[in-house]
Symmetry: none
Subunit: 192 residues, 4 copies
Amino acid sequence: MSKDKIIRAAIEVFSENGYHRASMDEIAQRAQVAKGTLYYNFPSKSQLFKTIVKAGYEDIIRRTEADLNAPLPMEEMILQVIRHHLDFFLESQHIAHIVFNEISNGIEKDVLDELNQIRREHLNYLARILKEGKCERQLLRDLDPNLSAASMIGTLESTFNYYLNHQEEYSREDLEHFVFTFITQGLYISFD
Amino acid sequence: MSKDKIIRAAIEVFSENGYHRASMDEIAQRAQVAKGTLYYNFPSKSQLFKTIVKAGYEDIIRRTEADLNAPLPMEEMILQVIRHHLDFFLESQHIAHIVFNEISNGIEKDVLDELNQIRREHLNYLARILKEGKCERQLLRDLDPNLSAASMIGTLESTFNYYLNHQEEYSREDLEHFVFTFITQGLYISFD
Amino acid sequence: MSKDKIIRAAIEVFSENGYHRASMDEIAQRAQVAKGTLYYNFPSKSQLFKTIVKAGYEDIIRRTEADLNAPLPMEEMILQVIRHHLDFFLESQHIAHIVFNEISNGIEKDVLDELNQIRREHLNYLARILKEGKCERQLLRDLDPNLSAASMIGTLESTFNYYLNHQEEYSREDLEHFVFTFITQGLYISFD
Amino acid sequence: MSKDKIIRAAIEVFSENGYHRASMDEIAQRAQVAKGTLYYNFPSKSQLFKTIVKAGYEDIIRRTEADLNAPLPMEEMILQVIRHHLDFFLESQHIAHIVFNEISNGIEKDVLDELNQIRREHLNYLARILKEGKCERQLLRDLDPNLSAASMIGTLESTFNYYLNHQEEYSREDLEHFVFTFITQGLYISFD
DNA sequence: CATGAATGAGAATTCATTCAT
DNA sequence: GATGAATGAATTCTCATTCAT
């Protein structure tokens, strides 16, 4: 079906070139449909982009939620969150790159607002997990949950970006272990 | 002098619109020079962009180095690094936004290579600090210094981005304290 | 029935947007039929347009003729012509706007020819009435009947257009009286 | 100079094809400039169109005013107005066609508003002449000056349009005489 | 009778860059 | 040093029309 072909092609083209350099022409070509078909299925370039980003966030949340609705100890939950985000980064580099790196200044205001709304919801989702963890047990430090969620994402993102340029030097386990340790324990050896 | 006016204008326009939506026309207008003058001073848009990014990185390294060449305890060094980066983010939001958020896919390959080279050097600089810290004293965990450096930046960046949209809820001290705690100790209360 | 729904919708859309900006998409939407149905009922956009214009002219001639086939004095005939045209303008603003204002340059040549043919016939019809009037009685000045017919239409049209933008300032009677006086007696107080 | 070449070409293309079918490509080609040059000189198609229409109206008013600022008897004034409008129609068929026939529904609202404003001013100018005439001397009938002005234009326009398709049948004097008689005395032989 | 997905030729507009002055 | 008119390739988007079902 055209819509699917277009989305698959768009993911490729957007992630290879970024939003602004991606051209509808190339997306159409790769999807093997006529340019008009793009606009038959999506009202504009920015809406097509938004559709992809939204699906990306929804996918990652769905994966994470599938694991977390069974009650888990907090350590396990954070590990699962990290794992699912890393999985997503690794399996869907293209989408991930768009979802997390493409700031897209200079996109239509209304679409940008929607994108930011989606981003915010994703952060809130993570922050909520951390908030519960803080109450429930005495595991988590008294840090602002929103900033903590943002920093988790930032850490995952920059770790993954670094990995992209140095794939041969690290294994998947290395990344997972690094991110988990960095996020939960930080750089310092704990003072005891 | 024209060159300065252009750079000042370019920083504004790039950070407001992102690289691709920033137009040489608007930069010329804001700099109050003719468009030709832009090309008299800079060979191309991407070179103008690179000039700004490079200066941004150099500025931040210069500030940090000024403090660190006197021998300091590691705790203090990391705090200084965080402080100088936060200072830079807060004082030069525009440049910082460009320097850290503008991935600039779809820029000429040679300029992109130079930009990545600059980014890499900045990371190396931070990684070197951490490496020394690991040997010197027993403070730092045995984590990969490159990934650690990348994650420090990622944390600073995402914290700052979150702050930009919630300025009223946090003070500068809040940010500094959060980032320092997150980076050095992580989310968990240390097991002792 | 689809055909009627389409015509009703097309009249609206053509008169709101003019021929070139009217889109088959919008006509289909307003008619609540699929786009294919438009082409099932009308071979092309221009043919649909022509159908409407033709029906408009036929309607106005039918109305006028209904009154004029009974023998009437010339004064009365001209008054009836004016009345019926004004009625038509007032009752079917949409169609009238299309019929008289949409010059439609840049329509397919064959359809344009047909449209002009229809227009010509309408003018001829009016000119014939005037010609008879000139012979029959000594009421009408020796003016070219074709130019006279064209000028009658022009007067009705421009009066009506002015009225459209100043509806509150004139009543229907004002218009009728003005047009009748202007056409039959002109601006000057007759020299006697 | 480019601007002049563009305007000359645009007048041709607009009047041959109407606003919507006229393409910037063709205008550029005929003006022998690159497409970009069009946009260097005019911000948009609609603004280019407006520029031409405005100049047309200004030209016609300038011509008329040149004659009328010397005090003239009303008969003479109306004759001059008719003559100058006919001159304009005959000398600048292209512009006249645009100015008076191109209703341009479906143009950007702001430009359309400006166009209507220009049209209105032209009508007001003619209405003012008639108003003065009514007071000054006992020549003019007590007809609404605005509707009268609109009808004068409508008469000139439709007469001219008819003439365009039947050029061989009428001389310039025929037209002038017809329009003057129709406008000032109407169709009826005055009752005396 | 009716549908609606798909098309592709055009159209307006943008913008980095050049170059004669 | 500086200008700004001119360029033309690239880009997004529109829309009448077709056709398999």
